[in-house]
């Protein structure tokens, strides 16, 4: 195992060395760094050109410049020496600093999108696998192919037009006329009826219920101007919490396990009490506090499950912990909605909250809630675009993996010995289907930071992709090399992790030592 890892790391280092040499030469050959001065009519043209040549050391041949750069870059390997030197960009900023900023920007952009895409993709994949060759399956398969064929810059422009500009115009006067509400309700109803399982009668009933509910909610929203002053309130949190408790118990322990259901419901009750207790505390919120509260919610849930007990304590604890975490999320959502009117009327936002470019509103001031709402409104469009196009892969892969598992002999055995379908799907099939998905996820995480160049360009996020493109445009090898190093190292590292994870999860696969 250790030999294997060491060997992989040594090969990786050699590959990195060769590739970085090539990238350096290519960047240097990719253009004329003095082009912008050659075309200018400035009187001090010659001076500017000399200064730029001096800065980029253009007198030295590119291969020699590479070894100079390498000399600085190697120092990054010395731990705690703080002598990492990746050169400076044209503005004189050290690349290590620029990379750090860019990395944070890129990670905030892609993390949420990737997590969402993985969660939604795996869920859809499992549902379509369980209901293979249903209308839902065909629909999702077609959508997967369609989304996979979409160019992201095209989706981005559409999202900007309809998601941002259109929605902002709607927010100016958030009234939903009756025909529109009926139309949206009807579309949702038809979709549910098509997607739902079971007999025609049951499908029609489900569709009709969804239609009535959606239309009523939309009309209520319109009448109360909910979109201007949104909020959940304790009643909605209570109702949704009970729903969550039932759903979580159904999936994690089965409704027959009364103790688990009880502990989940108690967790909802505790959450409701805390909703009122925590409001003053939440007004002073910081990021750290939110993280601590989230951890606390899981701990409280686990505690409730432990106290309620039952014949299988673990199941109760799991159900209650998950429920209390989700209820905590609802409380957080409600607090964000309370902050919405303040954000909406902020002098910098001026009633057009959904932003089309950038990562935050310049010079915005406010408390934690305003600032994080500002980030959300900027992140929502790129996140939607990224989720849309990366969803397809996960859905198809999960579906294939799950179908393969569902045809295995041990699934038949599990059914034959009388286990409930829930146990068979959640315990026997799902866990094994996750093994190949885990490696795909690890591989994708490795490609994350370099994978959103176009998304960053379209939404003007100054992340890694921006740094790379900017360096390329000015024929400045230092930023390009910095981004390349980061991207290549993470990609290689996570590939190794993917291989190791696979052999750790599936004992039939062993790494070759």
């Amino acid at each position: 195992m250790v030999t294997y890892i060491v060997r992989r790391l040594i090969t990786a280092a050699l590959i990195l060395l060769g590739a970085s040499f090539l990238v350096y030469l290519l960047t240097a050959a990719s253009g004329d760094p003095l082009q912008e001065f050659r075309d200018s009519s400035a009187p001090n043209k010659q001076q500017l050109m000399d200064a730029r040549s001096e800065l980029l050391q253009l007198e030295t041949p590119a291969p020699l410049r590479y070894f100079k750069w390498l000399g600085g870059a190697v120092q990054c390997l010395v731990p705690f020496a703080n002598s990492c030197d990746l050169g400076k960009n044209l503005a004189g900023q050290p690349i290590t600093d620029a990379l750090w900023h860019a990395l944070i920007q890129t990670l905030t952009l892609v993390t949420g999108a990737t997590v969402l895409a993985i969660l939604i993709g795996i869920t859809l994949g499992i549902i379509t696998a369980l209901r293979q060759y249903s209308t839902l399956d065909y629909g999702v398969t077609f959508m997967a192919f369609l989304f996979f064929s979409l160019p992201i810059f095209w989706v981005a422009v559409l999202l900007k037009e309809y998601g941002a500009i259109g929605f902002n115009n709607f927010l100016r006067n958030p009234e939903i006329p009756l025909p529109a509400a009926l139309g949206i309700g009807a579309v949702l109803g038809v979709l549910t009826a098509v997607a739902a399982a079971g007999e025609m009668r049951r499908r029609l009933l489900t569709g009709a219920a969804v239609f009535a509910f959606a239309t009523a909610v939309l009309l209520y929203f319109s009448a109360t101007e909910w979109f201007k002053t949104p909020g959940l309130g304790p009643v909605v949190i209570a109702v949704a919490g009970v729903g969550i408790a039932f759903a979580v118990t159904l999936l994690s322990a089965g409704l027959k396990n009364r103790k688990a259901l009880q502990s989940a419901l108690i967790a909802v009750g505790v959450g409701l009490v805390l909703y009122f207790v925590l409001q003053p505390l939440l007004n002073e919120a910081t990021f750290l506090m939110i993280v601590l509260l989230a951890a606390a919610s899981v701990l409280v849930g686990t505690g409730i499950g432990y106290l309620v007990g039952g014949y299988d304590r673990g199941q109760s604890m799991r159900a209650a912990a998950l429920t209390s975490f989700l209820v905590g999320f609802l409380i957080l959502l409600d607090r964000y909605m309370q902050a919405w009117p303040t954000y909406f009327n902020n002098s910098r936002v001026r009633g057009r909250p959904i932003a089309t470019i950038g990562a935050n509103t310049p010079n915005i001031e406010g408390d934690f809630w305003i600032l994080s709402l500002d980030s959300f409104t900027h992140l929502i469009l790129p996140t939607m675009a990224l989720v849309l196009i990366s969803l397809a892969g996960y859905t198809r892969f999960t579906r294939a993996s799950m179908l393969e598992i569902m045809n295995m002999d041990y699934i038949r055995t599990a059914r034959a010995k009388g286990l409930s379908e829930r146990t068979v799907v959640m315990r026997h099939a799902f866990r094994n289907a996750l093994i190949p998905i885990a490696t795909i996820v690890a591989f994708d995480i490795g490609g994350l930071i370099g994978g959103a160049v176009i998304t960053e360009a379209v939404f003007s996020v100054r992340g890694m992709g921006f740094l790379f493109l900017d360096g390329l445009e000015h024929v400045d090898p230092n930023p390009v090399m910095g981004v390349f190093l980061c991207v290549a190292i993470t990609a290689m590292l996570f590939n190794l992790v993917a291989d190791l994870a696979y052999s750790a999860l599936d004992p039939r696969v062993r790494v070759k030592a």
């Binding site: 992989r8 090969t11 990786a12 590959i15 060769g18 590739a19 990238v23 290519l26 960047t27 050959a29 990719s30 253009g31 369980l130 293979q132 060759y133 192919f145 369609l146 996979f148 064929s149 979409l150 160019p151 992201i152 810059f153 095209w154 422009v157 037009e161 500009i165 990224l386 196009i389 990366s390 892969g393 198809r396 892969f397 579906r399 294939a400 993996s401 179908l403 393969e404 569902m406 045809n407 190949p436 490696t439 795909i440 994708d444 160049v453 176009i454 360009a457 790379f468 493109l469 390329l472 390009v480 390349f484 991207v487 290549a488 990609a491 590939n495 190794l496 993917a498 291989d499 696979y502």
Partner: protein, 367 residues
């Protein structure tokens, strides 16, 4: 190192060992038919693939005949560079009811160029690039994968490390270098003069030179498993040369995987080309491509949305049809794949066999 292919291979292999389940008919039709005939029958029975093939065929024909190609004039009255007076501010004249084509079916841009001609020209470029990439990536991928998988040893080590190196090179950088080299028209090098007349071909060749890596890994995997089979031993004992074993015995058995993955590489290549053109390092003005059209017209979305809709629609249509063709090919080439009958599956009321493996989607897209 970037070696996800091992898992992919394992998974693909496991997926292929599936047992037939409900709704899967035994291949009675295979009796007395050659491999090619079986594959053709299966492919023709796949409605999605046929729809994709039809759509792609129509787009291909219309794109190449309407505005002409390589000096041959087409049947459409405008060229992608012709400027004509604006009619009704350039609004598209095509309408579904009454079904009419009109003077400028897709509308005109700000200076009066015909968008139908431009879109068709862009589709030509995208399809050309796609085919060039498929050809080059397929060729290099097969050669590298076959050599590495068949000979093992130091050949494999060198070739696979080379593959690892190329896989981490940023596509954008190579495209930028290519654009820069092609842009030096005044310097009179053979490359620059070739590039200035065949900009699209050069881009296709460049992208082909870097997109073979995934294919090479897959082919290596195929060769690794096929070279251990009995028929290869038999051939070797009867004195067949290495070249004969590779080309006559192993390659025909790996051709299914090859064709399917070349198709999928091509559908990814279309998106890469449009993305590069969008960023300004792909096809350069005054020539045009679908990505370039979108990039030039995205600011005008609120005033002339059609300039944005039609090129995008064509990207999606081409890519979608190629994806469906690839899906159909995969089903057709999998010898263990039985013809699926959805009705019987539903009657049996059980989960059936999977028709497509999830590796349909390469993860190397340029988003």
């Amino acid at each position: 190192m970037s070696q996800p292919s091992q898992q992919d291979e394992i998974m693909a292999e496991e997926a292929s060992r599936r047992q037939p389940a409900a709704g899967v008919e035994p291949v009675l039709e295979a009796k007395g038919l050659s491999q090619g005939q079986i594959v053709r029958r299966r492919f023709l029975g796949h409605s999605g693939a046929i729809a994709g093939l039809l759509a792609f065929g129509i787009i291909f024909l219309v794109a190449f005949t309407s505005v002409g190609y390589g000096g041959i004039p087409g049947w459409w009255k405008y060229d992608h560079e012709d400027v004509s007076p604006l009619l009704n501010d350039g609004v598209p004249t095509a309408s579904l009811w009454p079904l009419a084509w009109g003077e400028h079916p897709f509308g005109q841009d700000r200076i009066g160029r015909d968008l139908f001609a431009m879109t068709m020209r862009g589709a030509q470029q995208s399809i050309t690039i796609m085919l060039v990439i498929g050809l080059i990536a397929g060729l290099i991928g097969v050669v590298v994968g076959a050599l590495a998988g068949y000979f093992r040893g130091w050949v494999e080590a060198v070739l696979m490390r080379l593959t690892d190196m190329i896989i981490i090179m940023p596509v954008l950088l190579l495209a930028a270098v290519m654009a820069q080299l092609a842009g030096r028209r005044d310097e009179g090098s053979w490359f620059a003069s070739f590039a200035s007349s065949n900009g699209v071909l050069v881009l296709g060749i460049f992208l082909g030179l870097i997109s073979w890596v995934g294919l090479a890994r897959l082919m290596r995997g195929e060769f690794l498993s096929l070279r251990e089979r009995e028929f290869v031993d038999a051939a070797r004992i009867s004195g067949a040369s290495n070249a004969r074993i590779i080309f006559k015995h192993i390659l025909p058995n790996a051709v299914g995987v090859l064709i399917v993955n070349v198709t999928l590489t091509m559908s990814a290549a279309i998106l890469t080309e449009t993305a590069l053109s969008y960023l300004g390092v792909g096809v350069q003005a005054p020539d045009t491509s679908l990505g370039l059209l979108i990039s030039q017209n995205q600011e005008a979305f609120s005033t002339r949305p059609w300039l944005f809709w039609f090129p995008g629609l064509f990207i999606v249509l081409i890519c979608l049809s190629i994806n469906f063709i690839g899906d159909g090919l995969r089903d057709a080439f999998d010898p263990r794949q039985k013809k699926f009958n959805a009705k019987k599956a539903r009657e049996a009321g059980d989960s059936g066999a999977e028709t497509t493996a999830g590796t349909a989607f390469g993860r190397a897209r340029g988003e």
